[in-house]
């Protein structure tokens, strides 16, 4: 293991090819595949190649081209897979949202409930453009990710504000995760995810020695000192508060999980994981006993087909039936009935459409695409030369992974459903924009990590010398 993996960490980066042409090649696929999918939907639903296909293809191609050129110019050594993967998922997401826009059932539903139907795909295309713009901005402004280290405590303040803000706005569909400013509604949790990762990275980089070394050994594990427990308890309490006041299980789980992962990476102490699991378990059970919203979710997860659950919401049952009806090969794009889910069919439950129309084969491909993004993120963390970059990269990757797991696990009935969106694929401005920023930061870190080092500067980090061994 050591010989092959150590190669991938830092040493391999020296003199590494930039791989920009690989990225370009992959991007071509990432644009062409969604364009074909788009044509496929049109042929299945209206028996003709959709008129918007050219515009859509050009739009997606343009976004990809801008992204690629900016990376080529400003982050030439960046990981070549991240941009094509995100583009492919974003493109397919647009196709899926456009496909659900064509659903008569959803159009009728919107007319019955809101008195009118507006297609979501054009909006999503606009959000994607804003997302790419933010991605470009990140690469242009953030010349080196270590600059973010300066804003550790400002990040904390901003993250807190973002997390607390939704409490003052009315709940939408049972969860207070929205902030509405004029005509826009924003899901600040999506942005807080990135900002809080910045804070954790900066904080843990400073405090990790204290947290790691000052501990007592008890029954084979290192127990942290009482005062070092402070931060973890604070974050724990905060995620519980989010759960209670914003009834947002997903965000709560995401932040606590993110913190435990980063704490573990920073300190290398397994005891933190044990603590983290115990505390989240206790917190979840504690809240579930008196919070009806959480109880409902658990009930719906355990008995999705029971009459009482179906009377409240048949979403999970419909989602499961969509997956089952897709079978191994799926019905084909535009030919399923995943729109039976109704509410949130193109956001939280968009994977059900993937499952029904692409089948098991396509769904596994989607999951592997997400897995690849996470893998590239963790690899970036391994390759990064500074602890802050390592922590930030692994934090962002872990947040991405946990979000994918929580959403996909929820709609597939593996875990209770939480209100979160599938990165890039699901409809929602905040989600797409924030995730493009996340990819931007990862690309920046990976560029720094893979850039040929001018000279091996003396590194205070003992760990770093370890990986130089062949």
């Amino acid at each position: 293991m050591s010989s092959s993996t150590s190669h991938t960490s830092t040493i391999g980066a020296i003199g590494a090819p930039s791989r920009r042409n690989t990225e370009l090649g992959l991007l071509v696929f990432a644009v062409v595949i969604p364009v074909f999918a788009y044509a496929n939907v049109g042929l299945a639903i209206n028996d003709e190649v959709p008129t918007g296909m050219l515009g859509y293809g050009i739009g997606l191609g343009l976004l990809a081209a801008v992204g690629h050129l900016v990376v080529r110019r400003f982050a030439p050594y960046a990981d070549p897979l991240l941009l094509p993967l995100a583009t492919l998922l974003n493109g397919l997401g647009l196709v899926l949202i456009w496909r659900l826009d064509q659903s008569e059932r959803l159009q009728q539903r919107a007319e019955d409930l809101f008195g009118g139907f507006t297609p979501d795909a054009p909006n999503q295309l606009m959000y994607s453009a804003i997302g790419i713009a933010l991605f470009v901005a990140v690469l242009l402004i953030l010349k080196d990710h270590r600059i973010l280290q300066r804003y550790t405590y400002i990040s904390m303040a901003v993250a807190l504000v973002l997390l607390i803000l939704p409490v003052f706005f009315p709940a939408v569909n049972g969860a207070k995760i929205w902030v509405s400013i004029g005509p826009f509604t924003i899901q600040p949790g999506e942005f807080a995810k990135i900002i809080i990762a910045v804070f954790f990275s900066g904080y843990l980089m400073v405090k990790r020695d204290a947290l790691a070394l000052a501990s007592r050994r008890f029954m084979g594990i290192y127990l942290p000192r009482g005062r070092d427990l402070g931060p973890i308890i604070t974050v724990w309490a905060m995620s519980l508060l989010i759960l209670i006041f914003e009834t947002d299980l997903g965000t709560s789980l995401l932040f606590f999980g993110l913190f435990v992962v980063m704490l573990y990476v920073a300190t290398e102490r397994t005891s933190w994981i044990v603590f983290g699991l115990l505390m989240s378990g206790a917190g979840a059970v504690g809240v579930a006993t008196f919070e009806p919203h959480v109880q409902q979710r658990v009930d719906a997860w355990l008995h999705p087909f029971s009459d009482t659950v179906m009377a409240q919401s048949d979403q999970i049952a419909n989602s499961l039936m969509a997956f089952g009806s897709g079978g191994v090969l799926g019905t084909g794009l535009g030919q399923g009935n995943s729109d039976l889910i109704g509410f949130a069919a193109n956001s939280d439950f968009i994977l059900a459409t993937v499952g029904e129309e692409f089948g098991l084969a396509g769904m596994m491909a989607f999951l592997l695409l997400y897995g690849l993004i996470v893998e590239r993120g963790v690899r970036t963390a391994l390759a990064a030369r500074d602890p802050f970059g390592k922590l930030l990269a692994v934090g962002l990757s872990a947040a991405f992974a946990i979000q994918v797991f929580v959403v996909a696990g929820g709609v597939m009935g593996l875990i209770p459903l939480t209100g979160m969106t599938m990165p890039f694929v699901a409809y929602g401005g905040s989600s797409v924009i924030a995730n493009w920023a996340l990819i931007g930061i990862l690309i920046r870190i990976s560029d720094t990590a893979r850039r040929p080092a001018p000279a091996p500067a003396p590194n205070p980090d003992a760990e770093m010398t370890q990986v130089v061994r062949p």
Partner: protein, 486 residues
């Protein structure tokens, strides 16, 4: 810091792996179960995606399909003479599922049945739309009409069988409902469905198959069959040596006849003709519950019948003391039967003791009219020997010639029958059930056996008797069958 990083990488890998495993579980292992789940609307969408096959009576469909708009169902079921045929067809509703034949033969009607697989595949390749097959029933349109119109706005049911094959010729139940009105999923259908479910007269119950009534005196033919089969008496004209009044065994209670009847030491024939409770009560008591049970079960009691629509099991109580056995033998106490069961009893007697399995689906047809499956008549049991059956026929014919059943006489045709008036309710406070069972006999054997029950009536209480209310309906049904054979 790289060791924990690798572990985190593995952890993230495990998260993805868990999702992949769950996905395989959902979309491969559980796929079929979820795809055909009763709450999965796709099942209905598929059911109504093309014109549904038809249910055929006398070579003509009694169902149809109509193109609909404004819904995800392309076609809607329609019915001709819906209320009349509802007990046969059941319904296929976009909103409320399907019942009876519509449900049991759904695969053929939608074209999804495995036996149509080859054709379906061929159609898919040649680009033809999937089509449903037809279900050809055994029913006789004019007999059904006679039964349905005979019941009119009275509450009741009719079941008629072809004794030699077991084919169901008529299956009527009133009050009925129009399945066309609940076939869609509009607001009107919803209202019709709510009204139907709330109706105290229960029009949605198929009384011919699913309602069990006390059979009253019609059960005496079963008791008579048991007496002959177990050699209690040799023939219809043996004196039965029964006293009048007759006290129920082990009690001080006298069993009463309906009026001042010549039942003292009457022959079986005479006792059946005037419907003596005392004689048949005593026969039942003398035979004992086990012998009675043996004969009753050979006729089909205590067992659900599948025609292929399920019919409730008729009841001959298994745990009884001697007085209860006597009461049960005259169709009281807990004895209860479906109209179909009494038609089976009659048909077994008319068919010289051979009980044929009743059925109402003659044939399943592919969309191109090829036969996929044809039902062949099957013997269910032999409740009584041929000579005994003929003795019993003589007795039942006497009932129609100059007994309680004269209303069922058809000129030029031999008719055997038995009336019944079953009291029920606390202290017999509710309207009695009027029963009539009968068969007709021509030179080629017996073409029809029928059982009629009329639940209640606004008519005079004294008027309610099998002979008065039920026998004319039975007569018309028999006549319709005989006429249609000419």
């Amino acid at each position: 810091m790289n060791k924990p990083l690798r572990r985190i990488a593995i952890f993230c890998g495990l998260l993805v792996l868990a999702l992949l495993i769950r996905d395989n579980w959902l979309q491969y292992v559980q796929a079929d179960e979820l795809r055909t789940h009763e709450k999965n609307r796709r099942v209905l969408i598929e059911r109504y995606a093309q014109e549904r096959g038809n249910i055929i009576v006398d070579g003509k469909p009694v169902t149809g399909s109509k193109r609909t708009t404004g819904s995800d169902f392309a076609y809607k079921r329609t019915y001709k003479d819906g209320p009349m045929w509802a007990p046969v067809t059941g319904f296929a509703s976009q909103a409320y599922g399907a019942t009876q034949i519509e449900n049991l033969e759904d695969g053929i009607l939608t074209g999804n049945d495995d036996r149509l697989f080859f054709r379906r595949t061929l159609d898919m390749i040649t680009g033809k739309k999937q089509a449903g097959g037809d279900v050809v029933t055994t029913l006789n349109g004019s007999a059904q009409r006679a039964a349905f119109e005979g019941l009119g706005n009275k509450k009741g049911a009719v079941a008629a069988l072809d004794p030699s094959t077991g084919k169901i010729l008529a299956l009527a139940s009133t009050p009925s409902y129009d399945p066309s009105k609940i076939a869609g999923n509009s607001k009107n259908d919803e209202k019709a469905w709510t009204d139907l479910s709330k109706d105290p007269n229960k029009p949605n119950v198929n009384r011919a198959l699913r309602e069990t009534y006390p059979p009253g005196s019609t059960f005496k033919v079963v008791t008579a069959a048991a007496a002959l089969e177990h050699d209690l008496y040799d023939g219809p004209d043996d004196k039965t040596d029964s006293p009048l009044p007759w006290t129920l065994p082990d009690t001080q209670t006298e069993l009463k006849n309906e009026g001042d009847l010549p039942c003292k030491n009457a022959t079986l024939r005479e006792a059946l003709r005037v419907s003596c409770n005392t004689v048949f009560g005593k026969v039942g008591a003398d035979l004992g519950k086990d012998k009675m049970q043996e004969t009753a079960e050979k006729f089909g009691f205590n067992q659900e019948q599948f025609v292929p629509v399920r019919a409730n099991a008729s009841v001959w109580p298994k745990d009884m003391n001697r007085p209860s056995t006597a009461l049960s033998s005259i169709g009281q106490f807990e004895t209860a039967t479906t109209p179909l069961q009494m038609a089976m009893v009659t048909s077994a007697i008319a068919n010289d003791g051979k009980l044929m399995q009743p059925y109402m689906i003659d044939e399943l047809r592919a969309p191109n009219l090829d036969t996929i499956e044809k039902t062949s008549p099957k013997e269910l049991s032999r409740p009584l020997s041929e000579p005994n059956a003929q003795k019993l026929q003589e007795m039942m014919e006497t009932v129609v010639q100059d007994g309680t059943g004269t209303n069922a006489q058809i000129p030029g045709v031999t008719v055997g029958g038995k009336t019944g008036t079953a009291q029920h309710g606390v202290d017999n406070s509710e309207d009695p059930y009027a029963w009539f069972i009968s068969y007709a006999k021509t030179d080629d054997g017996s073409p029809v056996a029928v059982a009629v029950v009329v639940e209640d009536s606004d008519a005079d209480r004294g008027d309610i008797s099998g002979g008065g209310l039920a026998a004319p309906i039975a007569k018309n049904v028999m006549k319709a069958v005989i006429d249609s054979k000419k």
